[in-house]
Amino acid sequence: MDFEDTPEEAAFRKQVREWLAANAPRRGEGVGGDELAERTDKAFLAAAKAWQARKAEAGYARITWPKEVGGFGGTPIQQVIFSQEEGKIKSLDGLGGPFAIGLGMCIPTVMTYCAKEVLARYVKPALHGQEIWCQLFSEPAGGSDVAGLRTRAERKGDEWLINGQKIWTTGAQISDFGILLTRTDPNVPKHKGLTMFIVDMHDPAVDVRPIKQASGASGFNEVFFTDLKVKDSMRVGDVGDGWRVALTTLMHERLAVGGGQGGGLDVPQLLQLARDLELEDGPALRNAAVREKIADWYVRSAGLKYTTYRTMTALSRGQQPGPEASIAKIVVAAKLQDLTAYATELEGELGSLKGEDAPLGGMFQLGWLSAPGLRIAGGTDEILRNIIAERVLGLPQDVRVDKDVPFNKLPSGR
């Protein structure tokens, strides 16, 4: 669907197209990968960093950031236009991945809470792709219940001594810095004793171990901290105010994660498969059951797309986006899982193959293998439904037995 632009928007789109044509790596030259493949190898990272740097030099790295911090000073619509045009270029697929968390979540949080000198040090290298950031929140004992985390930070003069473990940290193995949420006071209820820090991921006291996922890829990691020393100047927000700071990050996270479209696997790919595949009674695309499935997923995709347009409309009118923005990830993740499973069904016994051996390069198999992760990362389906129920619909919170109990008096189970 190519919606018409205003003259200003059309001019901007033209400018972006021309710039992309002149600057994007050609097919084969770039090493853009499938978003779902979660590549972290050197060649991919080099290409990603080079592309990020090129965008930053032209001001396109963050369209809506002010010019003073290296952005374009543009509107949300211009960001959409740029992303649309960038998304059309196959060789750029997935290249923005390594920077999504840093620029989408970490740096906005740092910008909200840190001193000028700190910003002067960190914002530009992140924007130019020289430094990658990760977000260190989840722990073995606190996934959905993030505030139940146990990583301990103790004040030692002008420094903090940090011990503990994080898990499910996307991109930790390629990151230079991270924002780390710690417990600084276990004697108060859990939300009140948290504090956030910027940490150097190259410090020898930080040990990163990639986790092999069910899909075979290793997008996320375990991270261990053993007597890590962090200067107080690296604190993000006030001592004990870490939960509020983390909410800023999480708000950005849901926008960022929900923005994905499941690795570009959607109805057009299913149509492509159905067009070429023969079932018992002829082409799959002529089969009524197949057509009903396609229509079911199409209305969810289209509904989401136009919901995004409504959100963008609110943004462009200078309003806060409405709660409709919160539905994206629930819809995308479930659709990815169901649609890819169905595609493998159509492929019959060959559906059990993967990679180059499978039909269409195994794209549906890759999507199916990755889908469980998408339903969990960035807020599980269940947590997101709670959020919609409580924050959008205004239903009461579940009974919280841990609410007014000091953290160190809470039962911990396994």
């Binding site: 619509i77 959409v80 009524a288 136009y306 239903l395 009461p396």
Partner: protein
């Protein structure tokens, strides 16, 4: 003042009366002066030329003026169409709520999209979408859809100048009600399923499950007019339902707040609307447009179900706390919300396609239809479930929505037909 304003200012319509109060009407001239540019469109993502209208950027929402209309419609219908009014039709023999119908006619809503030359307001489809959503929200028991989305639309698309001049002003002022008779037997409407004949100016055959067939004065009838094969044999016929040779009989309906009729034509006098051979095409075009407007009714109904379920869950206590605090209920309501938002967004896109007569209209209509049907069905049944036993009683209003949801899901054709139509449109748009 333009001519339109003069006509408007002197009109009997309630919108005009509100002008003095600074209500909706004050913005009408602006609608009019902007008729030839997209200011009022929710549309084309973007598309509004910023400087001219003092806005810029994406514009995928209704305008402030249209939102005012929505508020006004909501206030009016909340007052005039409480559940009691729906029940009166559901439990009685009346074909519709006549008092409400007159009041709606007074408001000018029936002529929203009827051109001024035929006695309407000539505003456009976006305003009609806004009104449709509000009618759906309260299950208004009036033949609005049959008369406006179907009958008037059919005449507008295919009627002769004389037919339009004769009937549309009466549709617009509510003095004449129209309907559209299509199905004859169980199963989807297909070319083959049309057996009613229209020959020598006479209709013969039996139409079934005609929505608002009892309330209507005139009908459009899909009929077979020649021996040609396929859709070339079909024609739309216009018939006066009060004429000789027409017999009407109430049919029992799952939703008696919208009455259905069997209509028997026995040499009934009729005239063609459009050319012979065009009947099927016109029908499809009218159904596409009606599907989008109906999707707004469905979205309105689904929203009410969510609001009812929420209100009940908040005040109903079990095991010492409101049931709204249990995740089983919260997640159900969250799913309703997700479905409703998707349906609303698809309906918005449909509204854009309708207002601009976009080439994507068929795809947009099918998507809006399927999405809204799924949302309303889900919300209606899970609203009953959230209420528990009382939700299944006649006394509570949940069943009114459950019934209307299914009625709207079947009227205009079932999901499976629309899904097929959707994929066909997708194939065509991909091939193009």
């Amino acid at each position: 003042m333009t001519n339109g304003d003069v006509a408007f200012a002197s009109s009997r319509r309630a919108w005009a009366r509100q002008r003095a109060t600074g209500g909706v009407v004050a913005i009408l001239p602006q609608w009019r002066t902007c008729r030839n540019c997209p200011i009022a469109l929710p549309a084309r993502l973007s598309i509004v030329a910023g400087k001219q209208h003092g806005m810029e950027g994406m514009n995928f929402d209704f305008s402030d003026d249209q939102k005012l209309l929505r508020e006004q419609a909501r206030r009016f219908l909340t007052e005039r169409c409480p559940p009691k009014a729906v029940r009166a039709v559901l439990e009685g023999d009346a074909s519709h709520d006549r008092a409400l119908w007159s009041a709606i006619a007074e408001m000018g809503w029936l002529g929203t999209s009827v051109p001024e030359e035929y006695g309407g307001l000539g505003l456009g489809y976006l305003e009609l979408c806004v009104i449709a959503e509000e009618l759906g929200r309260v299950l208004a028991p009036v033949p609005f859809a049959s008369s406006v989305y179907l009958f008037a639309e059919g005449l507008l698309r295919a009627g002769s100048s004389a037919q339009k001049a004769k009937l549309l002003p009466k549709i617009a002022d509510g003095s004449l009600i129209g309907c559209f008779a299509r199905s004859e037997g169980a199963g989807p409407l297909t070319v083959k399923s049309v057996r009613t004949t229209f020959k020598g100016g006479r209709l013969n055959g039996i139409k079934r499950a005609v929505s608002d067939g009892l309330a209507a004065d005139h009908a459009l009838v899909l009929a077979r007019a020649s021996e040609d094969s396929g859709e070339r044999a079909l024609c739309l016929a216009l018939v006066d339902l009060t004429a000789q040779g027409v017999r009407r009989q109430a049919e029992q309906s799952i939703d008696p707040s919208r009455k259905h009729a069997q209509i028997t034509f026995d040499n009934a006098p009729a005239e063609a609307v459009g050319q012979i051979g065009e009947g099927w095409g016109i029908t499809q075009a009218v159904l596409d447009r009606a599907a989008i407007l109906t999707a707004f009714e469905q979205v309105g109904g689904a929203d009410t179900c969510l609001a009812m379920a929420k209100a009940y869950a908040m005040e109903r206590y079990a095991f010492g706390r409101p049931i709204a605090s249990y995740q089983a209920i919260k997640h159900k309501l969250a799913d309703m919300y997700v479905n409703n938002e998707l349906a609303r967004s698809n309906a918005y896109y449909g509204a854009w396609a309708l207002a601009t007569d976009a080439p994507e209209l068929t795809l947009a209509a099918a998507a809006a239809r399927v999405s809204a049907t799924q949302a309303f069905d889900y919300a209606a049944k899970e609203n009953i479930q959230t209420h528990g036993g009382v939700g299944f009683t006649w006394e509570f209003d949940c069943h009114l929505y459950y019934k209307r949801a299914r009625e709207l899901a079947l009227n205009l054709g079932a999901q499976r037909s629309w899904k097929d139509r959707l994929v066909t449109a997708l194939e065509q748009s991909n091939a193009a």
